[in-house]
């Protein structure tokens, strides 16, 4: 049993050890690689001088603000299109025309309209979050047990009551899955915008470290960004399990 638990750790540990040994033996001088000990030292230093915590705050602020706006829009549209088949059919071409635009293509538009900073990043993150939320909410709402909808009609609930008391609760487990996926996308898009152009947050931090030829700091940022991504995902998985039980996790593998 204990071997089963250590198995997953062996590969990363072995790789780190190999990199450390190789770096020391060859007295590595590189712009792109650094021994793990140096990476962790740089990480500790950047955490201590608050540069990484501040960058993390900036990135997460943009991530969550964009996520909140985007998923609210996606949720509202998804419910509307899921509940009303005619509306869905009327909007089909419009949705299919806008959806495939890669979110990052909006970057220059947002840039000239809003300039550098939080606002343009939030807009792009929000745009990216609308679609998974819309598509998955729509299909979640559509697959609600028809009997439930009949019951709500028999009880003569008004449309807002029906949505608040039947549709959202019934579709909630799958809507949360959509939210979890959107959160992952939000973080990815935020970091990408920062790397591409926006001079704030973790993405800008890692670019600066690269331009300063600080391989150790750059890789420290990379490790930290990975940890943030992992932590965010884990947090939401735990929340999902708490809220909806294990069953909700089944079947959301790609």
């Amino acid at each position: 049993m204990s071997l089963d638990r250590t198995k997953p750790l062996l590969l990363p540990l072995a790789l780190m050890l190999a990199l450390e040994l190789w770096a020391r033996l060859t007295q590595l001088q590189s712009d792109s690689l650094a021994p793990p000990s140096a990476i962790f030292a740089a990480l500790a230093a950047a955490l201590a001088d608050l540069s990484i915590p501040i960058a993390t705050r900036d990135t997460l602020f943009a991530t969550f603000a964009g996520l909140a706006i985007g998923s609210a829009i996606g949720l509202a549209l998804g419910i509307a299109l899921g509940v009303s088949r005619p509306l869905d059919r009327l909007m089909e071409v419009t949705v299919e025309a806008i959806r495939p635009i890669p979110s990052i293509a909006l970057l220059p538009i947002a840039l000239i309209a809003l300039g550098f900073g939080y606002r343009m990043e939030i807009v792009i993150v929000a745009f990216a979050c609308v679609w998974p939320m819309l598509i998955m909410t729509r299909s979640a709402v559509r697959s609600i047990e028809p009997r439930l909808m009949e019951v709500s009609r028999a009880l003569r609930l008004s449309a807002p009551q029906r949505i608040a008391k039947v549709v959202i609760p019934a579709a909630l487990p799958r809507i949360f899955v959509a939210f979890r996926l959107s959160a992952g996308i939000a973080l990815i898009v935020a970091v990408t915008v920062e790397i591409a152009i926006n001079p704030i947050g973790l993405g800008a931090g890692i670019m600066l470290a690269q331009q300063a030829l600080r391989a150790d700091l750059m890789l420290a940022y990379l490790v930290w960004i990975g940890a943030i991504g992992y932590a965010l995902n884990m947090l939401l998985i735990v929340a999902q399990r708490r809220l909806f039980g294990r069953a909700a996790l089944a079947g959301d593998h790609p």
């Binding site: 071409v93 025309a97 940022y221």
Partner: protein, 255 residues
């Protein structure tokens, strides 16, 4: 039934046309400064102008090339590595958890590392695109291989099929729906990373085009580029759907 579907489609196109008309109206009334928002007429004119001068076609081809090379490389490597890892219990135990750990990593964070290693070059872009696009494919392949019905492996054993035949005739076709879903996801990743790399490294492509247009406040050209990027996403995803329909005809038979 069929006629109703066509009528709905027509109505849906009309709604989209309505949105474009509203956009035109907003532009004409200058509710938003034309510096930021050109009307659809100007965006269309820019599109036509760009193509007739050949500039835009070149940029489009550049982006398509980046995307295609990176995606193909990722598909081949992703399916190969995924099959290798997915078909062995030991590899799954030792390697798969590390890969799952890396899954939520924002792949664009690898860009600075790639720049440090390869400079602002075409090679860097291909590396980044392939690296980003490989994950969905590889993870889907591993999952598909792990989920093959065990009974089919027993059928293969009782037919004394070779290991290569088992992979080619049992595991790969069984995992194909997962693999294609991964490849579809990767297509989007490849397009996004192509644009980002073009922006950062100034490589010939639509990403570079939209950035330059924005810097010069040529909003019509900018929108022309964005429309083309949307079209690229749309057309590639349609092509992927056709491929899926083709290769997964047996699934349609089940319905």
């Amino acid at each position: 039934m069929k006629r109703a579907a066509i009528l709905w489609r027509v109505a849906s196109v009309l709604v989209a046309a309505g949105f474009i008309a509203a956009w035109q109206l907003i532009a004409n009334l200058k509710l938003v400064s034309p510096v930021f928002l050109p009307g659809p007429d100007r965006a269309w004119a820019a599109l036509v102008r760009g193509f007739s001068s050949g500039d835009l076609a070149g940029k489009l081809i550049g982006t398509l090339e980046h995307m295609a090379y990176g995606w193909f490389a990722a598909s081949i490597a992703g399916i190969g590595l995924g099959a290798l890892i997915g078909s062995s219990k030991m590899m799954r135990a030792y390697v798969a958890p590390s890969l799952e750990f890396l899954r939520p990593l924002p792949v664009s964070a690898i860009i600075p590392v790639a720049i440090a290693m390869l400079g602002l070059t075409q090679g860097m872009a291909l590396f980044v695109i392939a690296f980003g696009a490989i994950w969905p494919i590889m993870l889907a392949t591993i999952h598909g291989f792990a989920a093959v019905e065990p009974r089919l492996y027993e059928v293969a054993r009782s037919l004394q099929m070779s290991r290569a035949a088992i992979i080619a005739k049992i595991a790969l076709p069984s995992a194909l729906p997962d693999i294609l879903a991964g490849m579809r996801l990767s297509l989007t990743v490849a397009l996004i990373l192509s644009v980002v790399c073009e922006i950062l490294a100034g490589l010939d492509g639509l990403g570079h085009w939209v950035l330059l247009s924005a810097r010069a406040f040529r909003s019509a050209d900018l929108f022309a580029g964005v429309i083309l990027l949307g079209a690229t996403g749309y057309v590639t995803s349609i092509a992927m759907s056709l491929l899926e329909q083709r290769l997964l005809a047996w699934q349609a038979a089940a319905r």
